[in-house]
């Protein structure tokens, strides 16, 4: 299995299209950071206006941790497209090139071949998220410095102590990785049915967009389906930034307000990954390779 994974990773990282995603992530992050570096203070002051009238706000509100939070919120919605670029090509791209028959006629079982490809696309997804973490978190910290993280939600302001933030980012990136592997496994499944990668990439994005719209619509018709849509759970990483409040209205350091909900979301995503992978294997094992 390791041989197949290594071969697939070698092929992924020798393809120029692989680096589009890394380049795009770096460019978007850098542009947001540049924008905030130049105009960020005004932006933050505007956002903190109401709060400043009541409270005395000290320290650097616009710091690396807040930047990472803002960037993650913006970027994680679009990353699925970058993931689908590679995962949607894993089988369909080989079929289109005519190399799938070359692989499938070697003394390796189709299940192992497919699992090897899936693991390689997952490694790519993890690599992209690590790359994103380096740029969004570490580069932001270097550029804007570190302080407590102040997050403004509709009616609530949460302040998380700087000493309590880093592990939350690690957990959030871990959760985001599961969410992105879910998208990757969907694109991977769709790539088995196609002979060029455009179809699976567009189909993956269409599904993500349609499901996201269904989530945001408050119509009772879709309420039953919502808990079962993977897109409902993809933003579960935000749960790590909701802190439990103690009896004296003080923050409980190291706590998550609704950890069971976050874990449920993670489990739902893992369930989707396993389902997509099982269907992929079942289809691929029986597939006539005509390309």
């Amino acid at each position: 299995m390791w041989t197949i994974v290594r071969i697939e990773l070698f092929k992924i990282f020798r393809k120029p299209r692989t680096y589009i995603a890394f380049g795009a992530v770096a460019a978007i992050v850098w542009l947001i950071q540049l924008g905030f570096y130049v105009d960020g203070e005004t932006y933050v002051q505007f956002g903190m206006q109401a709060l400043s009238e009541t409270f005395d706000v000290e320290g650097r509100v616009l710091n690396g941790y807040l930047m990472a939070y803002i960037i993650l919120q913006t970027l994680l919605v679009h990353v699925p497209l970058l993931i689908a670029l590679v995962s949607g090509d894993m089988v369909s791209g080989e079929a289109g090139m005519g190399t799938l028959r070359l692989l499938a006629s070697r003394p390796v079982s189709r299940t192992r071949l497919l699992l090897g490809k899936f693991l390689a696309s997952s490694v790519y997804t993890v690599a992209l998220l690590v790359w994103m973490a380096i740029w969004t978190l570490f580069f932001s910290l270097w550029l804007f410095g570190a302080d407590d993280l102040v997050i403004m939600k509709s009616e609530v302001v949460t302040q998380i102590l700087r000493s309590d933030v880093m592990w939350r980012y690690a957990a959030a990136f871990g959760f985001a990785t599961i969410a992105m592997v879910t998208v990757s496994s969907l694109a991977f499944l769709l790539s088995i049915f196609a002979e060029n990668s455009i179809g699976p990439i567009i189909a993956t994005m269409s599904i993500v967009i349609v499901f996201t719209i269904l989530n945001s619509l408050g119509l009772p018709l879709f309420d039953t389906a919502k808990p079962w849509l993977f897109t409902t759970h993809m933003l579960g990483w935000k749960g790590f930034f909701d802190v439990q409040v103690g009896p004296g209205n003080e923050q409980v350091v190291g706590s998550v307000e609704n950890l069971p909900a976050v874990l449920r979301s993670a489990a739902m995503l893992v369930g989707h990954i396993l389902l997509f992978l099982a269907v992929s294997v079942a289809v691929f094992r029986r597939k006539d390779i005509l390309s």
Binding site: I7, G98, R286
Partner: protein, 308 residues
Amino acid sequence: MDSSADSGAVIEVAGLGKVYGSLVAVDDLSFSVRRGDVYGFLGQNGAGKSTTIRMLLTLIRPTSGSIRMFGMDISRHRSEILARVGAVIEKPDLYGYLTGRENLRILARLSGCRDRKAIDRVLDTVGLAARADDRVRTYSQGMRQRLGIACALVHDPELVILDEPTNGLDPQGIADIRNLILRLSREGGKTFLVSSHLLSEMELIANRMVIIDKGRKVVEGECRTLLDPERQVVHLETMDDVQTRVRLARSRWAAHIEDDPQGRIRLSLDRADVPQLVRELSDMDVQILALRPFNRLEDYFLSLTQAG
């Protein structure tokens, strides 16, 4: 398991069939390839050759029938069998963004071959050593074909399956591939199954063959037997073919006249009788324009498939 191994059969196909909806691509096909054969797998385009080869390589699931290779059932011993087989299926499509050597390394690993020298050896065999580190997208069609064959040979298989290996090649490229197959067969002791619709090419390399048409076997056997050198079929072209037919029908040659799908005068006779035929036609005042021999595999193939 041992019976076919003892009989020397490397491939035994029995009652093989593949149906796509209402289309019968392969129909009750049976043939066998013996160890050391250069086995010609002949048929016109769309006859079912590639579908059969894909079934041999487990790329397509047969609708019916069985495939045994090296005495083992392919559905039960897939990996064991494929480790002993190398193949080029239709076009030699490879990873254009990788070099020839990288392509070989990938396929060698997947075939369980870890001998680095094997890659150099096989590059030498197909004459690609000098371009091994160039990207495949810069290769000519002939070079891609040779690299495809190198990929099929890199793990030193006992059986090599080549599907239309001379497609799209110039005459020199065709000759190179032909010589390579003959050399590997004679010196390397490998068994080849080579499909083609270029029958004149097959005539030069195959010792046994099967001809298929519309997914069914038309004939199978030794090329030598099928192309009996003692037997001669001729096409006769005269000033007045209608009169010639009448005169021949009244002569002792009447029994030798054969049906011809294109309406030509065709006679089947012993090679030694040809001069006598010419003499007697002359005595019958038949003005001969041409007397063409008809025993090449291409003619044979066309007559069999068109008769069907």
